[in-house]
């Protein structure tokens, strides 16, 4: 599966206008069953928009578009994002649509808006995402559903009786949503356990990733870094999953949660895997002209993006390894190497997802045979990796993660650029964002400081 870089499109060359991230807002992420247990996706997405509107004074503003989505979604939320816009102080004339690409929903929403801005189709937009692992839809069983539909179509009493008679006691058991892969029946954790074993990732290395995530997120909160990125919600002020006082010792005590039936040691625990989480995020994007006309500071431009997919069904690659393919293609198209990136954000679905991705890029054999490169892609400096923590500490409300990462990294880029300029160093400052997703999907994007 040798991938070749796709050719640059008009939008990635300098002719089109830049799409910039102006800022973002999210509600603190809560553990499933926590303070947002009785809150709907619509409530949370509206809250994220409310905070964004308040921060940037967007009341009554007609934005180009609002794009957001949820992975676990009620059928009544068929127009979730539009409903959130109508419930927000934005002008009711702001269009919206729902988008869904599993855990990459938020990042893909950013890419979608950015592309429209670059093409001049819109001048501004909000990309967002929301998920509740608490307030999930519960459906009736397939048997009951079919019976009810047949009943609704039945015209005569005998027809109705016949339809009702088809019902079996077992049909009354409700069907709860599953995050298992439909084609393999394996949970995401079990899939990743296979990949972890394949790449020989140790427990210690995973726990170190988790520890860094918690420590860095806690330090960022302490420094006030999130003062203009997060708006408290329902009494929650910081991410509920954050454990500022965790340690390698504490993490080492946790029992393995995935891969316990493999013949290799089980290394994935609740500590180095993301918990089920509730939350929402939103990112404000615009053309530079639009932003500056409103006194808003562009933080970072969305330069380019790439999506990849892997054949995990037949075991060719691990379920969450698509970013390992998307990133090299994206870097090649932009003529960049890992060393040109000041910051690298790899979504921590599991600590081992980050580590297997990094291992793949460092593996010459993999890079030659699978990525079609001449050499190993290279090593990511750990000091540039997930510098303000990531999903292991913050939690991971599926569709909300992309927005969290993009807003955080845009602010990080802008700061770094300002620091360098103050020190007399004028050079591009770039970040890579990589998000893996169910279905063997992966989306990567490059942002550059403005």
């Amino acid at each position: 599966m040798a991938a070749t870089p796709s050719s640059p499109t008009a939008a990635t060359t300098t002719g089109a206008q830049r799409a910039v991230v102006v800022g973002g807002n999210r509600i603190p992420f809560a553990r499933a069953g926590g303070p947002y247990a009785r809150v709907s996706n619509l409530d949370m997405l509206t809250a994220a928009l409310d905070g964004l509107v308040a921060r940037y004074g967007l009341q009554d503003e007609v934005l180009g578009e609002v794009v957001a989505g949820a992975v676990l979604k009620h059928s009544r939320d068929f127009n979730l994002t539009r409903e959130a816009v109508l419930g927000s102080p934005l002008s009711a004339r702001t269009p919206a649509y729902d988008l869904q690409q599993a855990c990459a929903t938020g990042l893909e929403a950013v890419v979608s808006i950015a592309n429209k801005i670059r093409l001049g189709q819109v001048e501004s937009g909000v990309a967002g995402g929301v998920d509740s692992a608490s307030d999930v839809p519960i459906a009736v069983s397939e048997g009951l559903r079919r019976t009810l539909l047949t009943l609704a179509r039945a015209k005569t009493v005998p027809q109705r009786l016949k339809a009702a008679a088809a019902l079996r006691p077992g049909d009354l058991k409700p069907a709860t949503p599953r995050t298992d892969e439909p084609r393999t029946g394996l949970s995401m954790g079990e899939h990743q356990a296979l990949t972890t074993a394949q790449w020989g990732i140790t427990r210690q290395a995973q726990d170190e990733i988790a520890l860094a995530s918690h420590q860095r997120l806690a330090a960022a909160y302490e420094a006030g870094f999130f003062d203009d990125l997060v708006t408290p919600y329902r009494g929650l002020v910081r991410d509920q999953n954050l454990r500022a006082d965790t340690s390698l010792e504490k993490l080492a005590k946790l029992k393995p949660a995935f891969g316990t039936r493999l013949d290799t040691p089980a290394t994935m625990t609740a500590g180095n895997s993301t918990p089920l989480t509730d939350g929402a995020s939103a990112v404000l994007l615009a053309s530079e002209d639009w932003a500056r006309a409103r006194g808003l500071t562009p933080l970072a431009a969305v330069v380019d993006a790439e999506t990849a997919a892997v054949d995990f069904v037949h075991g060719e690659d691990g379920l969450l390894m698509a970013p390992a393919y998307a990133v090299p293609r994206l870097l090649a198209r932009q003529g960049l190497g890992l060393g040109d990136l000041d910051f690298v954000e790899i979504h921590e679905a599991f600590a081992s997802t980050v580590l297997t991705t990094l291992a793949a890029w460092e593996d010459k054999e993999f890079c030659l045979s699978r990525l079609g490169l001449d050499d190993a892609l290279g090593t990511v400096d750990r000091e540039r990796l997930n510098v303000h923590g990531s999903s292991l500490a913050a939690g991971h409300p599926f569709a909300a993660t992309g927005g969290r990462i993009v807003a955080t990294v845009a602010k990080t880029l802008h700061r770094r650029r300002a620091e360098l300029l103050a020190a007399g160093e004028d050079r591009p400052v770039r970040a890579l964002v990589s998000v893996c997703a169910a279905g063997g999907l992966g989306v990567a994007a490059i942002l550059e400081a403005v």
Binding site: V53, D228, T231, G295
Partner: protein, 454 residues
Amino acid sequence: MATDTYLDLVNSGFTAKVAKQLGLPRPARLRRYRAGAPLVDGPVLVLGEGGDADTLAQFLSGTSPEHKGWDLDVRRHAGEGTRFAAVVLALTDVAHPRDLAEPLLALAPVLKTLAPGGRVVTVSRGATPDQAPALAAARQGVDGALRSIAKELRAGATGNGVVLADDVPVTAPAVLGALRFLLSARSAYVDGQLLPVDSAAGALPADWERPLEGRVAVVTGAARGIGEAIATTLARDGATVVAVDVPAAGEALAAVANRVRGTALQLDVTADDAGARILEHALGRHGRLDVMVHNAGITRDKLLANMSPDRWESVIAVNIAAQLRINEALLTSGDFADAPRIVSLASTSGIAGNRGQSNYAASKGGVIGMVQATAPLLAAFGGTANAVAPGFIETEMTARMPALTRQVARRLSSLQQGGLPVDVAEAVAFLASPQAGGVVGQVLRVCGQSMVGR
């Protein structure tokens, strides 16, 4: 916010009759600002002799050849059976305590028929030690008389005064601005106060309903209570509002910012760079910064005998040290120079002291000292610094007081009730307005003429 059930009872039906027969205190429902309502609800009597009285009468009635007035129904004599909504006593000419008799005795019969929510406003000049003793006596006599008249008024009527420095004409913007504020429903809970006007600075607004049009105001502690009311009131008066509060209050803050069509800035005012961040936000987003309202404040009550260092220090840090640091950042920036306004929240505790609040009173007394010393620094570019000292205000904070203490505290003022957050906000909005440019380094109490302190 607690409801004043007693006030409801003495103002409705059978319980009102019982209260009257028993001679119980009967606090009135106060007249408060409503858009489109008249400035005063009836004729206005202007008492006093001399040029200033005539000038004021002309201005109020809109018959002045030089100024566009307020078109009020102005009378110069108390006719039989006229129910006045307000009385303005022009006392700038008194030279001897004897001179007070005529105007004040002319007021006497009017008081009995003053309309509910009526107003008595004196316009006089200040007594200073360099004056002839008789002149100073006459002028200071106005102070004592007015405070006593205010205590005599009933049915939500208030008595207040404007005290001019010798070189300030009665047509100075701040004199007319203060007079209008004190006549209006905006001063519902301001009672027994004499507000000095020390300079002719300031400008009359193009639109009295929106005096803050085009101005950018920052309000700290804006997520709830008095701060929320200030943000709302400044926005009503035309200002673009930057609502500031600690990050933990962000959800309520966002709701306030969205409601007033302003922006939310999550910020701990005690941060070293708070001033810089406020400036950056206001200038970056809104292009300017004109009004700084220091409302954020905390209480950590304890008798001094039981006071811990952190209780003392946290109150000082939030209530006064943060204000000093932010003001310094604004003043040295060069971007706070177009008739800027600093309005800071003091407290009656900072004036009269309060058992168990030595830390709080130190901080609030500090606020008073700060505005007095800051005002001269702003004078060169038409700026002012003033404080508003709330008395008993119905907020979440006072709702937590023990019920009996709260009932007693409410009645310990001439208006016999607690004020509302909006009453404080109205005073802040007045001091933030262009017309208040001649009010410098003052403390305006919003306390219903509380028995506590002056």
